[in-house]
Symmetry: C2
Subunit: 391 residues, 2 copies
């Protein structure tokens, strides 16, 4: 059981100060006047503003991190009360939605104020990013700032967010503990004959009982002797003896995600599935044994790939064996060939080896860990060495 | 109680055929060769592809709706199994993530194939849209298609998605029924002395018990005699007698959202809060009485605003009194001045009047409905005329 007290919600202002100072050092080094952020995790990372309201696509939210001042929030009026509870002091609002000028005049004015030294504004434009504002409005920014440039600033948010603080790790450890509890309790609430949708619902309730705030991500599938799809929504099909079920959940505590899965067999599992489970379990062990500062993500991939290949893997469709984890379900880096990220203490990663076996069935395992000076600390409770059986 | 059987999950292929045919008529009328879609709701609307996997920002997903063929899906290999379960036949995959070419070559080839008649590709670029792909990659599309143009196609997805089919309405009616049940059950599971976070968790469990798949959106706040923020995450503060609590949830069944709230008082509420409740309740009634085809969203706003003003409202910070609802928590249109959308049968809307009272407290109500030939059908079960008291 996850016996610890839940960590305090939020962060002290000092945490945001150090994030912003680190960003400002990188801005100077890259000759950028400011960072313009439009997406939820980046906005929250530098401001502390935390709301589900981002699910509504109606309103844009803008945060500017200038070279030498606290962030400037340019936000819909509906967010002002929440924003005043953060460390951000410069809050500029408009009564959004106003489709003909949804914050663009305010944002242009602020960009004009801050872009005086280099004439260049950083925006994340690279892999795993997008700009959350209407494309027409982004064009209006370009047109409204003649002589200024927008440049890619992905490396700033990527570099900073990859290494977690101890306060962030506390939240991640807590949510991973809650999810471990729920996976251990699941066999008690699951029965063959229930539908996939009913099992998803029972597991979601168990996750909440075990202390997560919510479970934005829950995918899974069951199939005779194995599953063939790991990103599926539940169906109304009954799960029957002989089925192997995977659940993979991204559950959240105070805005920080777990991301790991567990495999269950309803009645005794097919030997091929049990054998694939054993191979992927050993691949995870091999990956874990390799984790320490200085090792690269591609080395982690190769280490796991070797065990899978020797175990008869017929490939995978995921494209990588794990990734970063934190404020989003998946973050940089990727454990894969070509990603040469060097592990550093404080990086939180998933190891997620998987293989195709038999006639196209899948077996995927996943664990969550934080890289430590001397190796790693496991955040998820290690899966059982043999697949759990639900009678 | 919500006595109906849950609707079947998914849609028959005929539903997607008619959506695509309607889009193709609009493409021709706007001299566009194809619609390029990058965001989850649009992708699902035309393809039927339904997965939580969009929560991971790592991989882009592309759907092309050409002038005269079924959609073309250009997607990460991990999505192929799920995609083969849809009506889409032309599925092109790559082993994403590949940051140096994450589907761009495949997408360029497909865009080249389809953009032969007008040389123009439609992309939603207007209000309430964004392009979910790295901005650098969008620039590569522009550069890789010399002589071709990208044009704003917001009006196509806006027009089509605003009017729901009966199969969509069935899902919306079901989820609203489940949430109505959960709100009615909430006083039985809530007690003063619990923290906000504990009440959120208890309510989430109740929502699942009542049949929702999940509750991506749950915001709320409690405060002595009223709340001051309606988009807040839960705190660890205890809710005590005298507090007024609002919960506002976007819960989901098979990918379709409810979006309505309820207000509760712990112990007897302050007379000012009870009076504000009455004003906003009557504003909702006045709005409902106005709903029928031909009326505009700005008329709905004015009708509700008049009752609120007469009742002593000191304004609001939401910017509108309700909005469209369906595959997203909020959709077009907005009930507000300047939005002159004419109501049509099949439009699903929220009415969401709110007011500031006393020293800056808020009172917000919300109901969900579908516009019918002769008026409307309520999807949420109407709130009680007096605020529910939790002892």
């Amino acid at each position: 059981m996850n016996m610890q007290t839940p960590p305090r919600r939020g962060f002290p202002a000092a945490e945001f100060e150090s994030r912003v100072e680190a960003a400002q050092r990188m801005l100077r080094a890259q000759a950028l006047d400011a960072l313009l952020l439009t997406t939820e995790p980046e906005f929250r990372y530098f401001s502390g503003f935390h709301s589900d309201f981002w699910l509504s696509p109606t309103r844009p939210w803008y945060l500017l991190v200038p070279l030498r001042a606290r962030p400037i929030a340019i936000i819909p009026e509906i967010g002002a009360a929440s924003m005043r509870g953060t460390w951000v002091e410069d809050i500029r609002t408009w009564p959004s939605p106003v489709p003909e000028d949804d914050g663009i005049s305010l944002l242009l004015a602020a960009l004009g104020e801050v872009s005086v030294r280099f004439g260049t504004i950083g925006v994340p434009m690279g892999a795993e990013t997008h700009v959350r504002m209407p494309l027409n409005d982004f064009q209006r920014l370009r047109d409204g700032l003649p002589g200024k440039r927008f440049a890619d600033a992905t490396s700033i948010v990527r570099t900073l967010r990859m290494r977690k603080s101890e306060a962030e790790i506390d939240k991640l450890r807590h949510v991973c503990g809650c999810v471990s509890d729920a996976f251990e309790a699941f066999p008690k609430v699951a029965t063959a004959g229930a539908t996939e949708a009913e099992l998803f619902r029972a597991f979601r309730i168990e996750l909440l009982r075990c202390g997560v705030d919510k479970s934005p991500y829950l995918v899974g599938a069951a199939g005779a002797g194995g599953y063939r799809d790991i990103i599926k929504q539940p169906s109304d099909a009954e799960v029957v003896p002989g089925d192997v079920l995977i659940f993979d959940t991204g559950s959240v505590f105070d805005g920080y995600y777990s991301d790991f899965d567990r495999n269950f067999s309803f009645g005794v599992a097919d030997p091929a599935a049990r054998s694939a489970y054993d191979v992927v379990y050993r691949a995870t062990d091999a990956g874990l044994a390799e984790v320490r500062p200085g090792v690269t993500t591609s080395t982690l991939w190769r280490t796991m790939a070797r065990v899978l290949e020797e175990g008869g893997s017929r490939g995978d469709n995921v494209g990588r064996f794990g990734h970063g984890l934190g404020m989003q379900l998946t973050e940089w880096p990727s454990n894969m060939p070509g990603d040469e990220t060097v592990l550093q203490p404080g990086m939180v990663l998933t190891l997620e080896p998987g293989m195709v076996f038999g006639d196209g069935k899948l077996m995927v395992h996943e664990e969550n860990l934080v890289v430590r000076e001397d190796g790693y600390e496991l955040l998820s409770r290690r899966a059982a060495p043999e697949m759990k059986v639900i009678q």
